[in-house]
Amino acid sequence: MSGGKADTTEPLLLGVRHHGPGSARAVRAALDDARPGVVLIEGPPEADALIPLAAGEDMRPPVALLAHAVDEPGRSAFWPLAGFSPEWVAIRWALEHGVPARFIDLPAAHTLAREEDEGPAPGAGEGTVPEPDVRTDPLGVLAGAAGYDDAERWWEDVVEHRGVGKGDPVAPFTALEEAMTALREECGGGGHGRDLVREAHMRLRIRAARREFEDGVAVVCGAWHVPALRRGSPVAADRALLKGLPKVKTDMTWVPWTHRRLSRASGYGAGIDSPGWYGHLFDAPDRPVERWLTKVAGLLRAEDRMVSSAHVIEAVRLAETLAAMRGRPLAGLSETTDAVRAVMCDGSDVPLALVRDRLVVGDVLGEVPATAPAVPLQRDLARIQRRLRLKPEAAERELDLDLRKDTDAERSRLLHRLRLLGIAWGETAVSRGGTGTFRESWRLRWEPELSVRVAEAGVWGTTVHAAATAKAETDAVTARGLDAVTGLAEHCLLAGLSGALPTVMRILADRVALDTDVGRLARALPALVRSLRYGDVRGTDTAALAEVASGLAGRIFVGLPPACAALDADAAEEMRGHVDAVHGAVGLLGDSPAPDHRTLRARWQSVLRTLSARDTVPGVIRGRCVRLLLDGGELARDEAARLMGLALSRGTPPADAAAWIEGFVGAESGGGLLLVHDERLLALVDAWLTGIPAEAFTDVLPLVRRTFSAYEPGVRRTLGELVRRGPGARGSVTGTGGGPPGFAPGLDTARADAVLPVLRLLLGGPDAEDEEAATGPAGPAG
C-alpha cells in the first residue's frame, strides 16, 4: 500500500456467492451495521451510470446488465441479477441510503474484446463469475474438508440457510475470508491469469474509492476474490497488469430477465437450479420450510389435487426429520422435495414436475423502465435495414422479391425473422408476378408500436438472427399442436434459421412419436415435405428434416389401416382427404435421393393395397386407393376392373358401391376422364347402375348425382355420348379395330416417334425405362 490516511480504515470486504440468498441477507445485515460511505460491487464499471435506474418503481428484478460491442451487437455479455442476488441487495441498499454505488470489475470493454481471442462465448457473462467448478473448485475443496460430497449443499448449510445471526453481522464474512485465504494458498493463489487482471483492477478501484470517501468503503464481490483484494499489492504492479488490454467500444443497458433463464446452465452464476426456491428463502421472513410447503400445497390445490392441511403438517415433519437424519441444519430443497413426493404426490414424479416448473424455478419475469438505453437488437435491425436498403416507412407499400437475387433473398429472410419475433412489419401478399417458388410478395408498413415490439424482443438476443433463433426454439418447446411445430419448421427454413432447426426437429420428432391421431399426422406430412423441398431449393441442410419426414411417413403407414376402419360418411370423406395428402407427399418425398426414401413409395403402395382390399374400410377410401394405385401404374387395368366389379357386385349394398365410385372417379380424384378413356370401367359402372333394384335406386341417386354432376361439362357430354352409343360400340375399343371418338384405329408410329424427342426433353429422363414409366400412366389421361 502506498500509505496515507486511507489505511487507517480497512475496507469492508463482503465475500458472497453470486445469487445466494443467504449471502444477500448477510450483506444487507452487514451494510446496515457498518453504514459505509460507498458500496463497491463486482460488475462492469460502464454500468455505473445505469445504477440510478435500479431505484425506479418500474424496475423489477430479475433483470440483467447487458454489455455489447457497439459495432457488433452479436458480441455481448449478461450480468443477471435476481431480487435475492447479493449484488442487487447492495445496489438497492446504496440507493435507499443515498450512498454512491459503483462497479469495480474489469470494464466490459476489455471483457468483450477478450472474447474475440478466446473464441465465441455468446451471452456467457464471463465478467463476474468466479467459476469455481471450472478452475480449481474452491468450494468443492472446502465442502470436501467439511465432509460434504456436494459443494452446493455445503454452501447452503453453512451460509445460505443461516438466519440472520444475533451476533456480529460481519463474522460470517470473516470466517469465509479465512477459509478462502487458506484455500487460495493451497491452490497456489488461484493462478488463472484472468482472475489476476480482474483483481488488479478491483484493487485499483478500491484504492481510488478510499481516497475519495473517508467514511468507510464496502466491497461486495465473489468470496474467491476477497483474499486477493485484502492482500496489498503495489499500485505499479497492478497498473502493469492492466496495461495494453484489448478494448472494444461497448454499450450497456438493463434488460428484463426471467427465473427460467437464471436456471439455465449457461451464462452467469453457473446456472442456479432453483431460483424460485432461493427467492423464497430470501423473501420468507421466518419458518421457510412451513411457508414453502404451504405454497406447494396451494399450487397442487389450484391444479385440482386434493391436498389438506394435514398433508402439509406431515410433509413438514417428514422434511425436518429427513434433514436431521441427513445431518443438515435446516430442511433444504432436496428434503422438502422428498417430503412433497412422499406425502402430497403419492410417490409420483408427475405432479412434482409441476412443482419444479412453477415454484422451484418459477415464472417470474423482470421489468425494466422505458428510460433504459436502447437494446442492441434495435441497432442491429437498423444496420440491416440500411444495408438492405429497406427503410421503415409508415406508408404501406408492396415489395416483390426475386429470391434468386442475394439482396432479395436476404430481405425475405429478414422479414420472416421479424415475423417470428412478433414484429409484423411485412405481411406476405399473393404474388403478382407468377407463382414460382422463387417469388415472394410482401406488404410493408412500419407502425410506431413496432419499435416497442423490437425493444421487447430484445430479451431474445442481441441480433435479429440470434433473437429469431432463440424465439423459434422456445416457440417449438411451448407449441401446443403438431401443426404448430411443422409450421414453425417451415418458417425456420423460410427465415434461414438453420440454427434453430435441430431443436425444432427434435420437438417435432417427439410430437410425431407421441401423437396417436393419424389424421393429425397426415395433415403434418405435406407441410413437412413442402419445407423439405423448399430447403432443397435453397441448399439448406435438410437431412434432419428428411429423417423426421420419413419417420412421420412410416408412422402414418402403420397407423392408417386401423384408423380407416368403422368410419361414418363424414369421417370417411375426411380420411380420404388424408390419403390423398399423404399420397402426394410420399410422391414428393420418394423423389429425394436418400436411400430410405426409395422404399417409402413401395411401402405406401402396400398400404394402399391393404386398404383397397379390406372390407371394413369405407367404400370411398377403397375406391380412392384403387384409383391411386391404378394411376401410379401399380395396378393392372384388369385387376382394377376386377376390384371394381367386386365393389359393384350384387352383394355390396348400393350405397357402399356408390361411395366406392365416388372415391374411384369422383371429381376430387381427377374427374371422369378415366371413364371416358376406359370403356371397360365405364361398362362396369353402367352395368351396375342399370342393375340396381328400383327401391334402392332412389337411395343411391343423390350419391351418384353428386359424383357425376361435379364433372366438367365436356366430360359429362362425352360420357353421355358414349353411354348412348351403347355397349356394342364400346366393346370394340379394346380390340384391334375402331377407337375412341376422334382417334384413328391404329397407331401412326412415324408421328408418334416425332413427338418423342420433345417429350424426352420435357421429362428430362435420359434412359428409356424412365420414359416409359412417365408416359405410361399419362397416356390415357392426356
Partner: protein
C-alpha cells in the same frame, strides 16, 4: 444375497439370515433410537444400503437403488407415519418391507397377506369359537390379528398387496392408523397401540382391477415408489442372474448363455417402457403392459426352453421374438400399433438387428 443358516428351512426370515449383521449394528449404534426400535434410524438405513462399521464389520447391501428412497422410508417410520411402498412387480417391495421390519422391530413375521378374500379378521381380530361357546366372550376367546399384536407390543406389522384387499376391509385400517386404537365392541374394550407400532404396506401400481385406496386411507400413508433398475447394465445383470437360477431349477438343458439376446430383450423392454430409445434420440409410444424386469426374465426363460428343446441349442432372435410380442401386445388394438411402429421405426433401421426384425415380423402381430 443370502447368508447360509444352519437350518433346513427353504428360506429363513430376514432377521435370522442377517442376525449377525443386526447384532453388530446394534452393538455399535450410539445414536438415539425411537421407542422400541432395535436400531437407530441411521443404523436401519445402513442395514439396508450396506456399509462398513467402525469395527470393520461389513454390512451387505440389501437394496440396490437410490439412497434417497431408503432415507425417506426410514424417516417415515421414525415420524410415526405408515409407509406405503409402491412399484411394478419385481421391484423388491416385499424384500424392502421385510428388511425394514426386521431392522426396526427385529421381527418380520407380523404379516397380513392381502388377497381378494382377505377378511376383516385378518386386520382386526377373530374368535376361537370353541372358547367363545364354552366361556362366552372374553379376551381369552379372542384371536388377535398380526396388526393387533403389533399394536399391543409396539412392533412393525406388514401388509402385503394392500390394493388387493377389498375396499371395506382396507378401511378398517383408517381408525388404526389415525386413532392408533382398535376397539373391541364385543367386550367393551379396546387395544391402544403402544409407541413403536407402525405399519408398512406394499402395493402394485400397474395392475388393473385393484381396489384403489380411499383418499382417507391414502393420506395416512407416506408413499415411496420403488423404481425399476436404473441402468441397462444393472437390468441385464439381474435378468441373466435370475434366468440362470430359474434354468437350473427347471432342469432346462444347458444352453450357451445368450447374453446378446438377453441384452436385446432388456433393450426392447426398457425402450418401450421409457418411451424413448436407448440413445435418447427418438420418442416412442408405450404399450399398456408393465414390461417389468420379471417379464423380461420370463421371456428369456421361455426362449431358452424353445432353443433347448426345439432349436439348435443356441438362443437366437427367433426364440425370443414370440415371447416379446406376447409380452408387449397385451391390448390387441392399441398395443399392436405401438409394437409395429416400434418395429418399423426403430428395429428395422438398427444395425445388427436384421434377424430380430425378421423374426418379429414372422411372429406376427
Amino acid at each position: 444375497m443370502t447368508v447360509p443358516v444352519e437350518r433346513d428351512t427353504l428360506r429363513p426370515h430376514a432377521e435370522d439370515a442377517f442376525a449377525a449383521e443386526l447384532a453388530a449394528l446394534a452393538a455399535q449404534d450410539d445414536r438415539p433410537r425411537p421407542a422400541r426400535w432395535r436400531l437407530s434410524p441411521w443404523a436401519v438405513a445402513t442395514y439396508l444400503l450396506g456399509g462398513t462399521l467402525p469395527d470393520g464389520t461389513v454390512i451387505t447391501p440389501k437394496y440396490v437403488g437410490p439412497r434417497r428412497l431408503v432415507e425417506v422410508a426410514v424417516t417415515t417410520l421414525a415420524t410415526d407415519r405408515a409407509l406405503l411402498l409402491l412399484g411394478v412387480p419385481g421391484t423388491a417391495k416385499t424384500w424392502v418391507s421385510e428388511h425394514l421390519a426386521a431392522a426396526v422391530s427385529g421381527d418380520s413375521t407380523l404379516l397380513v397377506q392381502g388377497t381378494a378374500g382377505t377378511p376383516e379378521e385378518a386386520i382386526r381380530y377373530g374368535w376361537n369359537y370353541a372358547r367363545l361357546l364354552a366361556d362366552g366372550p372374553s379376551r381369552d376367546a379372542l384371536v388377535p390379528s398380526p396388526v393387533m399384536r403389533a399394536m399391543a407390543e409396539g412392533m412393525t406389522v406388514r401388509v402385503e398387496e394392500l390394493t388387493r384387499i377389498p375396499a371395506d376391509v382396507q378401511d378398517t385400517l383408517i381408525t388404526i392408523l389415525s386413532e392408533k386404537t382398535l376397539p373391541i365392541p364385543e367386550l367393551g374394550q379396546e387395544v391402544q397401540a403402544v409407541r413403536g407400532f407402525n405399519l408398512i404396506a406394499t402395493a402394485n401400481d400397474r395392475d388393473r382391477g385393484v381396489n384403489e385406496l380411499s383418499s382417507a386411507l391414502r393420506r395416512r400413508f407416506n408413499t415411496v415408489v420403488l423404481p425399476l433398475p436404473g441402468t441397462p447394465e444393472a437390468e441385464v445383470d439381474i435378468v441373466s442372474r435370475r434366468v440362470g437360477q430359474l434354468g437350473r431349477s427347471l432342469d432346462l438343458p444347458a444352453v450357451p448363455d445368450g447374453i446378446d439376446e438377453i441384452r436385446r430383450v432388456v433393450t426392447v423392454f426398457r425402450e418401450l417402457r421409457d418411451g424413448v430409445t436407448a440413445d435418447g434420440r427418438t420418442r416412442l409410444k408405450s404399450p399398456s403392459g408393465t414390461l417389468s424386469t420379471a417379464e423380461a426374465i420370463s421371456v428369456v426363460t421361455g426362449g431358452l426352453a424353445l432353443a433347448a428343446h426345439f432349436g439348435d441349442g443356441v438362443l437366437r432372435a427367433g426364440d425370443i421374438a414370440a415371447g416379446i410380442v406376447g409380452a408387449v401386445v397385451r391390448d390387441p388394438a392399441a398395443d399392436r400399433v405401438v409394437w409395429q411402429e416400434y418395429l418399423e421405426t426403430v428395429v428395422r433401421e438398427r444395425d445388427g438387428w436384421k434377424d430380430f426384425y425378421r423374426a418379429c415380423r414372422e411372429a406376427g402381430a
